[in-house]
């Protein structure tokens, strides 16, 4: 099977609130797949279903070929889960937390593996300090360590970089790329648009619906560019899609006029594109 995750028509309700409205997705093995969306988009609900922590009402889900609702126990030794909240024992040390969450798996050379993980999350120097005194970023690192300790085939990370500084974010993404290079599939949710650029593919979610699912390049191509051309006599101001192909046409319209003295191209950022997708969805509701 090429896909690590397959979801078809997944629905989840919390009372009257429909958190997931018939989502269909697939994540290939070895891929870094991003779930992008604002708070309340359904990212956490989806991840909780995939790790077998939550039940779904309709549709189907397959994670590493197993049904996360009915075969959760078989699945749990193959996946690593980092919840949105650090979910750690704050009165225990970093080492004790990693050991406790790793202890449940049959890990050969367990203590050596715990050392390896503590090195990986760069907390070896503080391994015996209680997590209570750690910064938000350090807690996130311990949480990541707990998710990684048993070397899972699939990592599901719920906003792992929320609330951490840019330097640590970069370090996290470097870790994720390193893991992906080793063949680990990573599903990562974020509400920081620029992080999608680190993913192989990403789904943009809003209110329980997938608005778009594409590669970062594919998502960027959905945007447009605002082109302004100044000549001695006039200013041309146009908004075009696919500007690498459209710009030459615009220039031809000017016959490469030597009076053209300045060209400005402002491309939509990923944030603009995602916001426009979300706004389109909103206007469709009105």
């Amino acid at each position: 099977m090429d896909n690590a995750i397959e979801i078809d028509g997944l629905r989840k309700r919390y009372g009257k609130l429909e958190a997931l409205k018939g989502i269909s997705l697939h994540v290939k093995r070895g891929e870094i797949f991003g779930l992008l969306g604002a708070n309340g988009a359904g990212k956490t609900t989806l991840i909780k279903i995939l790790v077998g922590a939550s039940r779904y009402d309709e549709g189907s889900a397959s994670v590493l070929g197993l049904n996360p609702m009915k075969q959760a126990q078989a699945l749990r030794h193959q996946i690593g889960y980092m919840p949105q909240a650090p979910a750690l024992y704050e009165d225990l040390s970093a080492r004790e937390n990693v050991r406790f969450f790793g202890r449940v798996h049959q890990i050969p050379n367990f203590e050596a593996r715990v050392d390896e993980v503590l090195d990986f999350i760069n907390l070896r120097q503080r391994e015996n300090d209680s997590v209570y005194g750690f910064s938000g970023g350090m807690k996130q690192r311990v949480s990541l360590g707990c998710a990684l300790v048993h070397q899972p085939n699939l990592l599901l990370l719920d906003e792992p970089t929320a609330g951490i500084d840019p330097k640590l974010r970069e370090a996290f993404w470097a870790h994720f790329r390193e893991l992906a290079a080793q063949g680990v599939t990573i599903l990562v949710s974020t509400h920081q648009m620029d992080e999608v650029l680190h993913c192989d593919r990403a789904a943009v979610m809003r209110e329980g619906v997938v608005l778009a699912c594409d590669t970062p390049r594919g998502l960027l191509s959905r945007g447009s560019a605002h082109i302004k051309i100044w000549s001695d006599t006039q200013v041309l101001d146009e908004t075009v899609g696919n500007y690498p192909e459209r710009l030459p046409q615009l220039l031809q319209r000017y016959h490469l006029d030597p009076s053209v003295n300045r060209i400005e191209v402002n491309e939509d950022t990923l944030e603009d594109i995602v916001l426009s997708l979300i706004n389109d969805k909103e206007s469709a509701h009105v």
């Binding site: 077998g52 959760a72 909240a85 225990l92 202890r103 449940v104």
Partner: protein, 243 residues
């Protein structure tokens, strides 16, 4: 499965070791309460009142109350900190989690029961035989283990610490009023007798009175482990692994 249970128990004990204030308070509290009971009972000037009839079951009640309360709150804290959900996703099973808690808190209850018994001996000069003292200790310890199970069971119905509080009087008040601790149970109306049998303190009080020669029925100590197994089974089935 057993190694997972031990892992949970070791983790809980390590947490307790880190939280020394909690341990000291939970061990000192029964001692202080028994001292206050000593002051209270000394002040009751009635020839009909015999403190010895009350004090051992009251001490058992103190352990019951504290253990139940602490365990319920600690388990709910696991839920609100999302560590319970994380344990499940990591592969821990509900049986191993509950078993781990029972092992760890039983050790705390062992110490608590011992302190209670020593405090009783010190303040009230019980003058019981060693065999009677050991029997009382066994009853208090069994009651403490039941209280842990009750705490786990009740915590399954609460999503946060605040929601635990309404359950406290629901479990504790029937123990006070219907277990025979204050009022002889034969004075209760027949229709209310079932309330007596659902309180673990009834069986503990009857057994303690049986062992100390204050009436009662010593053989009823057997009901305590049975009660514990029933509550544990209920706790196991109500602890949900999935939302």
């Amino acid at each position: 499965m057993f190694s997972q249970m031990i892992a949970v128990a070791v983790r809980v004990l390590r947490q307790l070791a880190h939280d020394r204030r909690f341990v000291v308070l939970s061990l000192a509290a029964p001692f202080v309460v028994i001292y206050m009971l000593d002051i209270f009972f000394d002040s009751v000037e009635s020839p009909l009142f015999r403190p010895k009839e009350f004090i051992v079951p009251v001490a058992a009640f103190i352990v019951h109350f504290l253990t139940y309360l602490l365990c319920a709150i600690v388990l709910v804290r696991e839920r609100t900190a999302h560590t319970l959900a994380r344990m499940f996703v990591n592969g821990y099973r509900r049986g191993t989690i509950i078993g781990g808690y029972i092992i760890a808190y039983s050790l705390l209850a062992t110490l608590q029961s011992l302190i209670v018994l020593l405090a009783l001996q010190g303040f009230f000069e019980l003058n019981y035989t060693l065999e009677t003292m050991l029997s009382i200790y066994g009853v208090i310890w069994l009651l403490a283990v039941i209280s842990i199970s009750l705490g786990i069971f009740v915590s399954n119905f609460a999503r946060n610490e605040g929601q635990v509080f309404p359950f406290i009087p629901l479990v504790i008040l029937p123990s006070v009023f219907f277990s025979g601790l204050i009022l002889p149970i034969d004075r209760l109306p027949d229709w209310a007798s079932w309330l007596t049998y659902i309180t673990p303190l009834y069986y503990a009080t009857e057994a303690i009175h049986g062992f100390t020669g204050e009436g009662g029925n010593a053989a009823l100590w057997v009901a305590l482990p049975i009660y514990g197994v029933v509550v544990l089974t209920l706790a196991m089935f109500t602890l949900r692994e999935q939302e």
